[in-house]
């Protein structure tokens, strides 16, 4: 609890934020340390089973190539300046990992070039070249020398690495006796504590237990302030992009979709994901209808019940979210729609309309629109579930649920305010804990919260 408040407090005074506000000019003045210039990469994926000599010969005589060209990266160009913390985001299969491998010179581009100035330390997959038969100490030295450090240089960093990994008493154990978490911690510590100039990281923020993650968090904060160290981070976590990065880039289908301001890249990425989810849902619904099956929650009485966003799905607390419910219900008699709002990140039902509030006037296939103001809430991700109900046959005061729009038929939206990312659901304008009447031993301070600046106009 107190940890969380600390973090919020830290983000207010984070000097990097101020730097960001003044523009990215601070970085463009620094020299370019990584230049990716019109990089193209394709892979030849085998289409035929051409592993045997016989098949290879048959393919050759028939003139079958036996492979398909898959373009993974198309004309990627960007530059990273010294001291930057550069984020790369994108959906799975978008070419991020390939790009990272090209940056680290593990793969070679088919076209274009990559130039790196300084020592680059990649941490692309877990356990870079660790050997289970060697002790932790030997592995650190082996790993270090593969990264190009001499024995003396590793001697100098050794204690730092071990204490960061918190594995002091295990260093003379063979690596095969380590738990997987310990191995990852060691590998990660070597990568970040090695005195490289450019650090290339792939999806590593989810490494280790909570305490270790907090340590990594501190490290990233520090390194993002260091003007000599450059970090390139590939991640799916928009939180870390916003927290550490100076700039970011989104890759979509092997191309640079957005590059520049981290906020807009992060929003764009969330949007792309929501769109993909929507598309996927529509496709699934169509398939289900074609097959004569009903999606989860629906049945032959109500074959269609779907909630979807009408306004854009990323909003701020100032906005009003508008959405629509599409239904198909043909049975005579009264029926109602009930809508509940779920908080995805924090869990729990935030709000529910009640069962007999919206009485529907039209039978058949119709769409109705609803709206909800969001002023009450801090940033968060929410999901709306709609159920279709009829009066209960046994007790007219109650209702029976006919169908529910859940899973793919539910609607998601995201509240994202410019500043801060408070962890509480409700913002301070609508709820406030105050000392009880007559309580003398508490003094109320003027409230300062990055988020409330926006709403709290005192």
């Amino acid at each position: 609890m107190s940890e969380q408040t600390n973090q919020t407090a830290a983000s207010i005074v984070d000097p990097r934020l101020a730097k960001h506000e003044s523009g990215e000019l601070a970085y463009t003045a620094a020299p370019v340390v990584l230049k990716v210039d019109h990089v193209n990469k394709y892979f030849k994926l085998p289409t035929e089973q051409a592993t045997g000599l016989k098949q290879a010969f048959i393919n050759w005589t028939k003139g079958i190539k036996g492979y398909k060209k898959q373009e993974v990266l198309k004309d990627i160009s960007f530059e990273v300046h010294q001291g930057e913390f550069f984020g790369i985001v994108g959906r799975n299969g978008g070419g991020k990992s390939t790009l990272l491998k090209i940056i680290s010179q593990i793969y070679y581009p088919n076209k274009g070039s990559v130039s790196v100035t300084g020592k680059l330390v990649p941490f692309i997959e877990l356990g870079v070249g660790f050997n289970p038969e060697l002790t932790g100490r030997e592995n650190v030295y082996l790993n270090g020398c593969l990264l190009g450090f001499t024995h003396d240089e590793i001697d100098a960093m050794y204690d730092d690495i071990v204490s960061f990994a918190e594995l002091e008493e295990f260093m003379d154990q063979k690596l095969k006796n380590y738990s997987s978490g310990m191995q990852v911690r060691l590998a990660f510590s070597v990568a970040i504590k090695a005195q490289g100039d450019i650090l290339v990281l792939d999806e590593v923020l989810a490494v280790g237990d909570e305490a270790f993650q907090r340590k990594c968090d501190n490290f990233f904060r520090e390194v993002s302030k260091d003007p000599t160290k450059t970090v390139i981070l590939v991640t799916h976590d928009m939180g870390s992009v916003k927290k550490y990065c100076t700039r970011a880039m989104m890759i979509k289908d092997g191309e640079v979709a957005v590059i520049g301001d981290k906020e807009s890249v992060a929003d764009q990425y969330t949007l792309v994901n929501l769109e993909a989810e929507k598309k996927d849902n529509e496709r699934k619904a169509k398939e289900a209808v074609a097959k004569g099956e009903y999606p989860e929650g629906l049945n032959e009485r109500c074959p269609l019940l779907r909630t979807y966003a009408v306004s854009k799905p990323i909003l701020t607390s100032d906005d009003v979210f508008e959405f629509a419910v599409e239904y198909q219900y043909d049975e005579p008699g009264d029926f109602y729609l009930a809508i509940s709002m779920n908080d995805i990140r924090r869990g729990g039902i935030t709000y529910d309309t009640g069962a007999k509030v919206f009485k529907m006037k039209q039978h058949g296939h119709h769409t109705v629109r609803f709206q909800v103001p969001l002023t009450l809430f801090n940033s968060g991700e929410f999901k709306l579930f709609t159920s279709l109900r009829t009066p209960s046959s046994t007790n007219p005061d109650f209702t029976d649920m006919v169908a529910v729009a859940t899973g793919d038929n539910a609607c998601s939206f995201v509240i994202r305010n410019d500043k801060g990312d408070p962890y509480a659901l409700l913002n301070h304008d609508y709820i406030r804990i105050t000392p009880a009447d007559g309580e003398q031993n508490v003094e109320m301070q003027t409230f300062s919260d990055s988020f409330s600046d926006k709403f709290h106009k005192e």
């Binding site: 892979f43 491998k101 680290s104 010179q105 593990i106 793969y107 070679y108 680059l120 990649p122 692309i124 997959e125 870079v128 070249g129 050997n131 038969e133 060697l134 030997e138 030295y141 082996l142 020398c145 593969l146 990264l147 190009g148 450090f149 001499t150």
Partner: protein
């Protein structure tokens, strides 16, 4: 000009750092989990020697007629073992270290070089054993001993060349491991190592002429040179004393140069793709 020189130095400094690290690790791991550990580097060739000595020298009564024959036999076996070991470990080295190549960029020829260097260390240990045997056998050494390092270097270059070629091929098709195993046997018996060359040449006729051609094989040539210069200059036939003409000895030397050139060329052509094909 100076920066170019510095860059070259930097590049090879990095290569040396990696090479040292890998050789050390490989050597540490080689006898990992065995009770006798490094002692096996000495024991293995000795045991092999014992078997061959009993079979060939005692049962089959092969000999070049000198008391130094057992030492010469041991020296030949050790030298050949180096080639066999360096090439078969080298052949698998790229694939075995694939895990590394897929995660980090470093000059990957180092992997192959380090595989052969490991065998070089064993060879060094074995030569010490041979030296001790030689002293016991009252071999008297000549000035030619100083030529031995050159032949060892040649042998290493040959092994490295083969390892570079085969490791590249092995990344694409694994059949090469089996093919090389068979080829190794052919090469081994096609060289005067367990039998003295005189054993064939003494029979006369066409075989004698053909047998001398065995010495054109650069591996046979360098091993024979080592034996000749190290222990038995009087009895060991080499390419230098078996053929009258001056240019014949240049054939195996030329082949060595050609092999290493092909090896480096083939490896460099393909080394960029290793991370992708594996």
């Amino acid at each position: 000009m100076n920066t170019v020189k510095r860059r070259i130095q930097d590049r090879y400094r990095y290569a040396m750092v990696v090479l040292r690290g890998l050789v050390k690790t490989d050597f540490k791991l080689r006898y990992q989990g065995s009770f006798l550990g490094v002692a096996w580097s000495v024991l293995k060739p000795l045991m092999l020697f014992a078997v061959m000595y009993v079979v060939f020298a005692k049962f089959l009564r092969m000999s070049d007629g000198t008391p130094t024959y057992p030492v010469v036999l041991l020296l030949g076996i050790c030298s050949w073992n180096f080639v066999a070991e360096a090439t078969s470990i080298g052949l698998r080295s790229i694939v075995d270290r694939g895990d590394l190549l897929r995660k980090i960029h470093f000059p990957n020829y180092i992997v192959v070089v380090s595989a052969t260097m490991g065998s070089m260390i064993s060879l060094g240990i074995n030569y010490v054993v041979v030296l001790i045997f030689a002293l016991f056998n009252r071999v008297h050494f000549t000035w030619r001993v100083i030529l031995v390092p050159f032949s060892v270097l040649q042998l290493w270059i040959l092994a490295l060349a083969l390892a570079l070629i085969f490791s590249t091929m092995y990344a694409y098709f694994r059949d090469i491991a089996h093919i090389w195993e068979v080829l190794q046997q052919m090469i081994f018996y096609g060289m005067p190592i367990i039998y003295p060359l005189s054993y064939v040449t003494d029979k006369g006729g066409i075989y004698a002429k053909l047998a001398r051609l065995e010495l054109l094989n650069p591996i046979a040539q360098s091993i024979q040179d080592i034996r000749h210069n190290f222990i038995a200059p009087e009895t060991q036939p080499t390419v230098w004393n078996q053929f009258g003409s001056w240019w014949v000895p240049l054939i195996p030397l030329g082949l060595t140069v050609a092999l290493i050139w092909i090896g480096v060329h083939v490896f460099r052509q393909n080394s960029r793709k290793f991370a992708e094909v594996m």
